[in-house]
Symmetry: C2
Subunit: 287 residues, 2 copies
């Protein structure tokens, strides 16, 4: 059976893995993210040690990335505040070391592909994957194909209405102030109330306010894509009871206008800790 090399490239660690095309992961290995030379070199070293003869290699990576296939710097990190990584070539070293095709996507788009193929969106036709944590990101897959315009989505930066009890907060996004990320990401919650949602005292309006923002975002995504599934992952949405609130509020705001019913559409991720590596696998299979 064909083998695939997988890389989940994160800002603090890389996870390398080996799998078959059905999603069985045979081996995985964690490598700290230091410099491109060290980290990519250690990843190649581990693949070799495992005797990998890959059909293809897939990378699901932190960004920003140049994903324009016509660009001379396709497959590279673009400008990032992360030391050493601006301009780093993520794909070339693997293509040279293993002589195979190498695919690259954002980590969020990778997770969207994986949830659509093996997880919460299996057989559903279309899936929007959102992660709400340190930041907010999203990817949309329809019939196995990722939504792309000039660049990968930056769904955290959609414009938002304001909750009537939250008019004084300027928002946490350095670029846009009160976009979705600026209002609902983990640091925006800490900036307002000093603790995470699950640490707020009972009766505090914080959970309702954040659930309301995520419900408004769900309505906007229904209006634009009407996804069969909206997966909400990340630390913020793991707060107990939050998904149920979001479902109820999205149904109220949508007023039955869209085909998808939020009670069925809005779901938790299904792939857990495997979503990064399976994202890389989906990227490798889709080259």
């Amino acid at each position: 059976m064909a083998q695939y090399g997988l890389i989940e490239a994160g800002g603090t660690k890389f996870v390398a893995g080996i799998a078959d095309e059905e999603g069985t992961i045979f081996a995985r290995h964690r490598i700290p993210t230091t410099t491109p030379e060290e980290t990519l070199g250690a990843t190649i070293g581990w693949f070799r040690q495992q005797g990998l003869k890959p059909e293809a290699i897939g990378i699901a990576s932190f960004g920003p990335l140049d994903l324009n296939r016509a660009s001379p710097t396709w497959g590279h990190v673009t400008r990032t505040p992360k030391p050493h990584w601006s301009g780093a070539d993520l794909t070339g070293p693997f293509a040279r070391a293993f002589g195979c095709r190498v695919g690259l996507e954002t980590d969020v788009n990778g997770a969207a592909l994986a949830e659509a193929r093996w997880g919460a969106g299996k057989s559903a036709g279309s899936l929007l994957y959102l992660t709400i944590g340190t930041g907010v990101g999203g990817g949309f897959v329809s019939e196995g194909r990722l939504l792309h315009g000039l660049s990968h989505p930056e769904m955290g930066h959609i414009r938002m209405p304001r909750h009537p009890l939250d008019l004084d907060f300027a928002g946490h996004c350095p670029f846009h102030g009160d976009c979705l990320e600026g209002l609902a990401c983990g640091p925006a919650i800490i900036a307002r109330w000093g603790v995470s949602l699950s640490e707020l005292p009972e009766g505090h309006p914080g959970s309702d306010i954040i659930a309301w923002y995520l419900a408004q975002a769900a309505v906007t995504f229904q209006a634009i894509m009407d996804p069969a599934r909206i997966v909400m992952g990340g630390g913020v949405t793991a707060t107990p009871g939050l998904l149920d609130k979001i479902r109820t509020m999205a149904a109220q705001s949508g007023a039955g206008y869209f085909v998808g019913n939020p009670a069925e559409v809005i779901v938790a991720p299904a792939l857990g800790d495997n979503s990064g590596l399976l994202g890389a696998l989906a990227v490798a299979l889709g080259i």
Copy 2:
């Protein structure tokens, strides 16, 4: 050269046409929208009179439509307040009369396909078409393919921030109040100020307020799809000077974060009166 039968199906009139695959329209004919029997019958009659032997027939229609190919009522109008047209079969009569494939899309998706193929988005890769008039609608095309989830987009119903000088208006949408359509469509303008934007006295803030809403919407669409072109058509955006205001305000709100520069991305439609029939042709060619 192959011939295609085209139908632009509107609430007050149908326009039938005949064209080749390059977009040359040889003949067109206008038919009032009365009952499905009369209007579809007259359309078939005109096609026959013209001696049409179509390779395929494309319909770009008012809605709501059942566009789910797996549904037994694919190609029918669903529930509409328009008398006689709920449940009307738009495609079957043409398939039976001409023994050819018949394609159907919403009028907005048709215009999006046509602008992407022959108009403002030619060679651009991706295009969002918005029409802002009696209502607000939108369609997105990437590499010739329409964005579809569970249903066609209802982009007029995205959630919106509120302009600080427009906090008292409840919004005009019967379902969502202050969604994009509820704030920026023609009737929402009349409801606030009694006249259309171009009839407002000089110095009135109305144009700036509406331009700001359309700029916020453009930013949201850039965050989600980053379209190479955002075409803004319809009566409201035809107001002199409005597109320039929208471009400036979208650039301010986006803060340079997205790949597309609003000054180049936001454009007027290029196909004028032909966009309906060319939309039907794009549908026929895409079956």
